[in-house]
Amino acid sequence: MSETLVAPDVLSRVLNESMGRGAHFAEVFVEDRSSQSASLDQRRVQELSSSRSRGAGVRVVVGETTGFAHTADLSEAGLLSAARAAAAVAREGGGGVARVSLERERAHRSGAEVPPSSVPKAAKIEMLTRADEIARSSADAISQVQVGLSDSVRRFVVANSEGVLTSNEQVRTRFAVACVAVGDGGMQTGYRPLAATRGYEFLTPEAIDEAARGAAQQALTKLTARPAPSGDLPVVLAGGSGGILFHEACGHGLEADAILKQASVYAGKVGERVASELVTLVDDGTMVGEWGYLAVDDEGRPGARNVLIENGVLTDYMWDYLRARQQGRASSGNGRRQSYQHLPMVRMTNTYLLAGDADADEIVAQTPLGVYVAQLGGGQVNTTTGDFVFGTTAAFMIENGRITAPLRDCNLIGNGPEILRRVDAVATDFSTTPGTCGKDGQQVAVGCGQATMRLSGITIGGTAS
């Protein structure tokens, strides 16, 4: 892999070509991504897969209009051709001569201690088989184990007509164990992911064993699960995966693209109380190693810690370059894209609720009847109405202040603004969980987090009456 993806003087000439017809902004994003994945299923190592993807996306902005083209041809001719295609939207423009002078390159290394390329394939296979054996040894009822591993090294250079020239290297590694347990009540599933914006250093044998045992235990516990109740009940969310709720229920509505189109319940509400005073919500790209960590975003802007809601009061939204420019302010470091083939947009990084001062066990003890969600699954939100849905993958009844019977998987449904007001206890046991966020067809890695907390009421979509 060559050290420089594209030489700075070539990037300058491509930007000049892009700006040549009177554009207001131009950007070249050059990316080179290598990844490898392996999976084990039914005790067999399935295919190992390698993938390499290289190319550039050129974006040209004229007024409120964006032109975009991408190419896998990184020669100067290929890049210039993409620049002309992207600049086609500027054909009505003035045609003045632009001269872009790029700043000295700011380079960001990944800091991965054990880069994926340094780990032999045989060692990666060893991790898969280890997790398989540990999970299977948990109980005879574990009938199936699937283990997956993937790593990626993503290098990119972004240069724009404002002189920005930044290069970055992101290394992400992910490991996940899924188990199926069989019992009298049918089949149940358990799942544990491990993921970090790091090399293989965090995938220790201990971490792998714990994930394997955790996935197996989750499936086993659910074998005796009974149908979840239906209707409105208090819900205690265990620390970590509950952060998905805040990602869905309010994070998406705080993205400036939805705000500027008046397509969010939170538009025009900065300075207003929008949540219980126990709620301080932060989006933080600077959490080194977290799944949503980024040294710089995909527009060359350094990752930042942004407080969105402070003690219940809405303080700010999340911004990318384009949306910030429309408002005459700076990006908040939230411009992200799935790959060079996609336009950047406002995306979250690591979104979490700050810990409170209650005791996690006390919160459960003070809940006479409710549902304890040990692990949340995925979710979905309509940012315009704030209505959201998310699934549970490990949930229990709370009866008389004690966690009792496991519940079958079900969905919880609610409305973002309403739920934020119903946060009535937040504990100290903060933790995070990795996730994948999809928006307009683009997938990016995000982190979520919170401490154990309680919502005074939420609609549970079970089948028990």
């Binding site: 005790r43 067999r44 190592v45 399935q46 295919e47 897969s49 390698s50 993938s51 390499r52 993807s53 290289r54 190319g55 007024g63 409120e64 209009t65 032109g67 975009f68 083209a69 991408h70 896998a72 041809d73 086609a88 939207v89 394939k121 045989a122 009938s143 199936q144 199926v180 089949m187 239906s230 209707g231 409105d232 189109k261 008046q262 397509a263 083939q341 336009l343 699954g377 995925g378 979710g379 979905q380 309509n382 315009t384 109405t385 209505d387 959201f388 849905v389 998310f390 699934g391 079958r408 998987d409 079900c410 969905n411 449904i413 609610g414 609609t459 979509g461 079970g462 089948t463 009456s465």
Partner: protein
């Protein structure tokens, strides 16, 4: 023979002794226009080419496969991918069922899935469609406060698969789409509605249809209230029914079944659904957006009858899952793009239409809920246990007609029960983009959770 297939076959010459090789090439061009406030918000025009290579090596206990992908077709990228695939094959576990597809004597149907209009229509006309769509939605109803997005997009794509085991398949397709999200307001309340129009070229699209769809869906949800918790009949329109059939289709994958990951496992020949349900997977039906002459391993597409009058008739298989199950491929290999490996899956589902229109079904149902949209389908449905719990918006059905809109409601049941509890299947079949076509259906015994 297509130029792309020629190229794939030339690459097969690089196979080494003792190996089998599969080359999957694809290339395409696409345009996307987003309109906002009468202007182009963004315009993207792009082309791409990709290659996926799989290398198979036989051993005493079976075959091992390694795969690799590259996002360009230059020589350096291809050489790197081939070397990686070859190296990766060393690390897989030998599997007696692992194999590449071989020609099975079924001839592929000739299908013309390209409409030249997708390339001959000037870009300016495509832009005009998106701008017109936005304008029509904005001015279509006084309650429409905003058009969040109004998009035109199209593609022309070509794929070729060749293997050293004798597979040589190539096909082309085009598509064009209009989609729009409208926001309707009444007092403090907002509701959204999504509309679309689909065709193989811009000339087949209807701005009016997409606009009316979005406006209707957004405005009729205004005034939505919470519903009481109850148990009863849920009526699904064509779009939401199509989502249900896609989920059911996932559980009919021979791969899921043979691995014991489907609630249909071991139930072949049994009655699993109401007699009203005949579910077929037929990619040779040109009306279906999933139509294609070949599957993702290059075998000819064929019509597969999965559930006939409620009886579970067969599963769908690709080459490997068929070998594992002691069956033969049903031409049902699917893969997640060029970088993915084949697995078994449904490709173009449809339920044979009944005789009733939606109004008549509502009249016969009398009391229940009409499901307008579902959310949380990926998190709330478990194809192994069959547990089903999703969030919906919809309208109550009272006295046989649609009544007040409701929101923040979940519906729950199990997929097993839902299939048996189908009360009516409509005649109003709609051909939708995605895995399944849909028509109105009514399902009993669904638990509704509201306030």
């Amino acid at each position: 023979m297509s130029e792309l297939l020629e190229q794939a076959r030339r690459l097969l010459e690089r196979v080494a002794d003792g190996e089998e090789m599969e080359v999957y090439l694809s290339r395409g061009a696409e345009n996307e226009v987003q309109a906002y406030q009468g202007e182009i918000e963004s315009l993207a025009s792009s082309s791409s080419a990709e290659i996926g290579i799989r290398i198979l090596v036989d051993g005493p206990q079976g075959a091992r496969v390694g795969t690799a992908y590259a996002g360009s077709l230059d020589e350096e990228a291809i050489a790197e991918a081939l070397a990686n695939a070859r190296d990766n094959a060393r690390f897989a576990t030998e599997d007696e069922f692992m194999a590449f597809a071989r020609p099975d004597g079924v001839a592929a149907m000739a299908m013309d899935l390209v409409d030249a209009g997708v390339t001959t229509t000037p870009l300016g006309d495509k832009i005009a469609l998106a701008i017109e769509l936005e304008k029509m939605v904005r001015s279509g109803d006084p309650r429409i406060r905003q058009v969040e997005s109004a998009n035109y997009s199209d593609y022309l794509a070509e794929a070729a698969i060749a293997t050293t085991t004798g597979i040589a398949a190539a096909h082309e397709r085009s598509g064009a789409f209009l989609s729009v999200t409208a926001i309707a307001s009444q007092g403090d309340e907002d509701q959204t509605g999504w509309g679309l129009s689909v065709g193989r070229a811009p000339g087949e699209l209807s701005v009016e249809e997409a606009a009316a769809d979005a406006i209707g869906r957004a405005t009729r949800m205004l005034g939505a209230v919470k519903a009481p918790s109850t148990k009863g009949v849920a009526v699904f329109g064509p779009r939401t029914a199509a989502t249900l059939w896609s989920i059911i289709g996932g559980a009919l994958s021979g791969d899921a079944v043979v691995r014991g990951r489907s609630f249909f496992a071991g139930r072949l020949g049994e009655s699993v659904a109401s007699e009203l349900v005949t579910l077929i997977d037929d990619p040779t039906d040109m009306r279906h957006y999933g139509a294609s002459p070949y599957d993702a391993e290059g075998l000819a597409s064929r019509r597969n009858e999965l559930i006939v009058a409620g009886r579970l008739q067969q599963f769908v298989y690709d080459t490997v899952s068929a070998r594992r199950a002691g069956a033969v491929s049903t031409g049902s290999a699917v893969r997640g793009g060029v970088s993915g490996s084949p697995s078994a899956g449904c490709r173009a589902l449809q339920v044979l239409p009944g005789e009733l229109d939606q109004d008549e079904i509502l009249r016969r149902v009398g009391e229940g809920i009409y499901v307008e949209s579902m959310t949380g389908v990926h998190s709330g449905v478990n194809p192994i246990s069959g547990d089903f719990s999703v969030g919906i918006t919809g309208l109550m059905v009272r006295d046989g007609v649609l009544a007040e809109p409701v929101r923040e409601v979940t519906i729950a049941s199990t997929l097993q029960r839902m299939l048996l509890d189908v009360l009516y299947v409509g005649a109003d079949q709609e051909w939708l983009p995605g895995l399944a076509a849909g028509q109105t259906i009514a399902i009993d015994g669904v638990a509704l959770s509201g306030s």
